[in-house]
């Protein structure tokens, strides 16, 4: 769209160019970080002592010929630098290697588990973010009142509770049933199996309730506390006094003036949490036997299944880098001062 007036056009062009420069710098930083992750991931896991093929086949009889075949199959007979260049070339084409223990492409294992993790942590993310934002805002706005003390205290308590313990407690109470509470939810897994269509969706949602509840209970407190703290910092600001002096309703002062200005730390937290979302929550996935990335990572490390560990490390790190970069790109839109500095 063409601007109406000359000076405004120049200013807009100037700010758009500044933003593009800012975005380019951030994107460049992200690419460098990704390359660093690629290099670190490759060499770091090779520092683990021992021969991966020996580890993989340890405990069962295997001939020297079979061992050599394995080494050749997984490219372990090549010099390290050649393995690295080979690895980099394959990563660029989306080939993360073949899992030692599952005899399947790493990318297949990741894409198999990723939607399950996204379903669990994504649902929980939406809920704990909404809950944390609403309650955090209210707690700050009513600082010192019972509601503030109650919500802050509860959030701190739940945030300190180990998620696996809370999960087991929920299983005992709401899955098995305790006292007058009947066992309403499944004890674990993501589905009962053998269901289709709407039955299947209902079944998955049924399995989703307790793990999501556990995650929400443990995680919402962080958003609540950050939102509350950020809003409290804003509440003494002159512009709010001015807004009130203009006769604006308290509710409008809070929603239109205070909250948007206090959002920056919360947005940072949300993006960090989004980055973590793909990594799953290992303990909750374990307690509820959720077939996600967290459990896969644990299995990969326990062998150790080098290609799978490496692939998941690259995937998790990339998710965090991408989310942090997105957060960086969003900041100037929320606070124009960020882009200029």
């Amino acid at each position: 769209m063409l601007p109406a007036a000359g000076p405004a056009r120049g200013k807009r062009h100037g700010s758009a160019a500044a933003y593009l420069r800012y975005a380019a710098v951030k994107a460049g930083g992200a690419i460098v970080s990704l390359l660093a992750v690629l290099v670190t991931g490759f060499f770091l896991f090779r520092l683990i002592p021992g021969d991966p093929v020996k580890t993989m086949t340890g405990g069962r009889p295997i001939s020297a010929q079979q061992l050599a075949e394995y080494r050749k199959e997984f490219g372990l007979d090549l010099p390290l630098w050649e393995q690295f260049t080979d690895y980099c070339g394959k990563v660029l084409t989306g080939d993360l290697g073949t899992s030692y223990q599952f005899h399947a492409p790493v990318i297949d294992k990741i894409t198999e588990a990723l939607p399950n993790t996204l379903l669990l942590t994504g649902t929980a993310f939406v809920l704990y973010t909404a809950l944390g934002l609403v309650l955090g805002t209210r707690a700050a706005w009513h600082r010192g009142r019972f509601a503030d003390r109650f919500h802050t205290g509860l959030a701190l308590t739940l945030y300190s509770v180990p998620s696996f313990w809370l999960g087991l407690l929920l299983i005992i109470v709401f899955a098995v049933g305790a006292g007058p509470v009947p066992g309403l939810f499944p004890t674990g897994g993501m589905e009962s199996g053998g269901k289709h269509g709407l039955d299947y969706v209902v079944d998955v949602v049924h399995h989703l309730v307790l793990p999501v509840l556990t995650l929400v209970a443990v995680e919402y407190g962080q958003t609540l506390l950050v939102t509350r703290s950020a809003l409290l910092d804003e509440m003494d600001s002159d512009y709010l006094t001015t807004a009130r002096a203009k006769g604006l309703r308290d509710d409008l002062v809070r929603r239109r003036h205070a909250v948007p200005n206090a959002l920056l730390p919360t947005v940072t937290l949300l993006f960090v949490n989004l980055g973590r979302t793909v990594a799953g929550v290992i303990l909750v996935e374990t307690v509820f036997s959720w077939p996600g990335l967290g459990g896969l990572f644990y299995q990969a490390l326990s062998v150790p299944d080098l290609p799978l560990v490496q692939g998941l490390f690259l995937f998790f790190a990339s998710a965090v880098i991408v989310m942090n970069t997105l957060a960086d790109l969003v900041y100037p839109l929320l606070d124009p001062r960020v882009g200029r500095t």
């Binding site: 295997i62 079979q66 309403l184 053998g194 036997s289």
Partner: protein, 624 residues
């Protein structure tokens, strides 16, 4: 400084507070459910997969291990091989009573006078689940594939290393020629696959047999559905030649957390739980006496031992690792044996869920079980242990430490599994008992013990194996032939033991086809192993498992008299399981799901209601 009142009293009456509060909560709820439904739907199982008929009797088994592969050529984990054992027949099976070989796919077998040619008669009444007949050619093709394709040999290649040639002269006759005599020819635990299906597989290293269902097999169950880390579903083959299983379906459901699996059993969501490999004493105690639950605390098939580094070396004579040289002295090893009170370990660590260890093969394998005579036994005797150490030249110094001629005190590194609480508990006892003798020790508990073990970088290590009805494998891992060729290679050895006398007895038992004579030789080998003192078998842990009697009326253990249910050598347990009158496991139907979700929604709505009420009260106060 702001106070709540300063802000709160400015509330407006123009806008109702209800929509403001409900909007984010409702939006979040709707978004979450939409997300759940949107993401869940595309993940739905493919339409061709089996769905449980409403009146099917379903037996659900909780398992802790992930399936590594459903290819009989690749799978090595217990959960996978147990499932494959239900879907593919072997040439022979093991009698559930005493484990002797009984007909499987082969009805009869015989060998030539030179012991080098085995002829099996393949049964004519067996069919693949797609209707085709099972023939000797299927068996010949399977063995031939193991012999010629290294990728296909991944899991079971060890069974054919001594094979010269395999042929099928007729549909019911299989002939295997050997390079040298081999007594284990009735213990070939190799799933026989249908040639007409598997000949189309191009890369055995990558074919996991888990994409197209049902999987064609010839066992008592047909694999109809699988979802990684969720479940494996099998359907009974009602025309199975030995007789149809009594449950219609068998589901292996994955529980990563053992306590959650126990909770599922209490609820009736699963019919059976075994743990990995056993329920803990605390779990067993919590289940004992519960209504409709039976705990099966049976003598196990495993031994639990402490292995000493016997001077690890390769076949070419090169030394491997850095084991303490004092352990090369048999007197020192015997002293360490005699300082261990095995009864205390069984009572305190295993809390009675184990038997005291003696010989190398657990007593449930009665044919091959051996125990030392009174004069031979290295029983708990700390005084005698101290004498042996003195004789070996390791006397106590002024500080009470055993010191060798080089002035170095005895101080052992003991490799332990970080994930096994028994290792840690036994380690503490050893520290105390050996400490009294003047021997120091450090427990190196690691997630991955395989690397230091294969590198020979340990002095002692906790060891354990599940023993098969045929003892050949656990005996073979202590032969000189099992050592790695060079320090860079991996051998089939367990503990780098290499003793010519033992090897000679081992070779004789492998060539002996008479069961009685072979058993005598096996016991001789066990006796030699015991005398060498490289392996101290401390206990035989029980198989502790539990099942719901309101779902399973009866189930066969192995051995029948007192044995385990999960991980048997054969399909006896699941094939024989009879449903109780009340039917199979619940598993939670869609009614339960709807009820559960409704309850969840009520909880959420109630919470929202309280929230709104509080909000209204606050704003009402504000309005005043």
């Amino acid at each position: 400084m702001s106070t709540p009142d300063e802000h709160g009293t400015r509330g407006s009456t123009q806008e109702s507070p209800r929509p403001r509060v409900r909007r984010p909560a409702v939006a979040a709820g709707a978004l979450a459910l939409t997300l759940a439904a949107a993401i869940a739907t595309p993940l739905g199982p493919a339409p061709q997969r089996a769905q449980a008929a409403p009146n099917d009797k379903v037996l659900t088994v909780a398992v802790a291990q992930s399936v590594d592969s459903l290819s009989p050529f690749l799978a090595v984990r217990l959960v996978s091989t147990s499932i494959l054992r239900l879907t593919y027949e072997y040439l022979t099976d093991y009698d559930p009573g005493d484990g002797h070989p009984v007909p499987g796919l082969a009805t009869r077998w015989s060998y030539s006078p030179d012991k080098l040619t085995w002829t099996y008669t393949i049964r004519s009444d067996a069919r693949w689940s797609d209707g085709q007949k099972v023939t000797a050619q299927d068996a010949a093709w399977t063995f031939d594939k193991l012999m010629t394709d290294p990728a296909a040999a991944t899991a079971n290649g060890n069974f054919v290393t001594n094979f010269r040639k395999v042929t099928a002269p007729s549909p019911t006759q299989l002939v295997i020629q050997l390079k040298k005599p081999q007594a284990t020819m009735t213990a070939l635990d190799v799933p026989i696959v249908p040639e007409h299906i598997w000949k189309n597989v191009t890369d055995f290293a990558k074919f996991n047999n888990d994409k197209s269902f049902p999987i064609v097999g010839d066992g008592p169950f047909v694999l109809t559905d699988y979802k990684a880390d969720s479940y494996v579903r099998l359907k009974a083959d009602k025309s199975f030649w030995r007789g149809a299983p009594k449950f219609d379906q068998l589901v292996f459901k994955y529980y990563k957390d053992q306590d959650a699996a126990v909770a599922a059993l209490r609820k009736g969501e699963v019919s059976f739980v075994a743990g990995s490999p056993s329920l803990t004493p605390a779990q067993a105690a919590s289940l004992k006496g519960q209504p409709h639950i039976r705990v099966n605390d049976a003598p196990g098939r495993r031994f639990y031992a402490l292995a000493t580094n016997p001077g690890a070396r390769a076949k070419n004579g090169q030394k491997i690792g850095d084991g303490d040289p004092s352990l090369l002295d048999e007197r020192v090893r015997h002293a360490l044996f005699m300082a261990v009170d095995r009864k205390t370990l069984v009572d305190k660590v295993f809390q009675g869920h184990a038997a005291e260890g003696r010989g190398y093969i657990p007593p449930r394998f009665s044919t091959y079980f051996w125990q030392p005579s009174a004069s031979q036994e290295l029983g708990y005797d700390p005084a005698r242990a101290a004498q042996l150490l003195d004789q070996a030249g390791y006397r106590k110094n002024a500080d009470g430490k055993r010191v060798g001629k080089n002035g170095k005190p005895l101080n052992y590194r003991v490799l332990c599994h970080a994930t096994d609480p028994n290792d840690k508990a036994v380690g503490q006892y050893l520290k105390e008992w050996w400490g009294k003798l003047g021997i120091g020790m450090s427990l190196d508990c690691l997630d991955n013990v395989t690397d230091p073990w294969l590198a020979g970088k340990y002095d002692l290590a906790f060891d354990g194996w599940s023993v098969n009805p045929d003892p050949d494998f656990v005996l073979s891992i202590h032969t000189c032939a099992a050592l790695p060729a060079t320090p860079k290679d991996t051998g089939a050895t367990d503990n780098f033991i290499c003793d010519p006398t033992y090897d000679e007895v081992y070779a004789r038992q492998l060539a002996e086809y008479d069961t009685g004579k072979r058993a005598a030789l096996v016991k001789q080998a066990e006796s030699r192993l015991y005398d060498l003192g490289y392996m101290n078998v401390m206990a035989y842990p029980n198989a502790v498992e539990a099942y719901r009697t309101d779902q399973i009326k009866s189930i066969e253990t192995m051995p029948k008299a007192a044995g385990n249910i999960y991980g048997q050598d054969g399909y006896w347990s699941w094939w024989s399981a009879t449903p109780a009158d009340s039917g199979g496991s619940s598993g939670g139907g869609s009614t339960g799901a709807v009820l559960g979700i409704a309850a969840g929604a009520v909880v959420v709505l109630a919470g929202a209601g309280v929230f709104v009420a509080r909000r209204r009260r606050t704003t009402a106060d504000d309005r005043e």
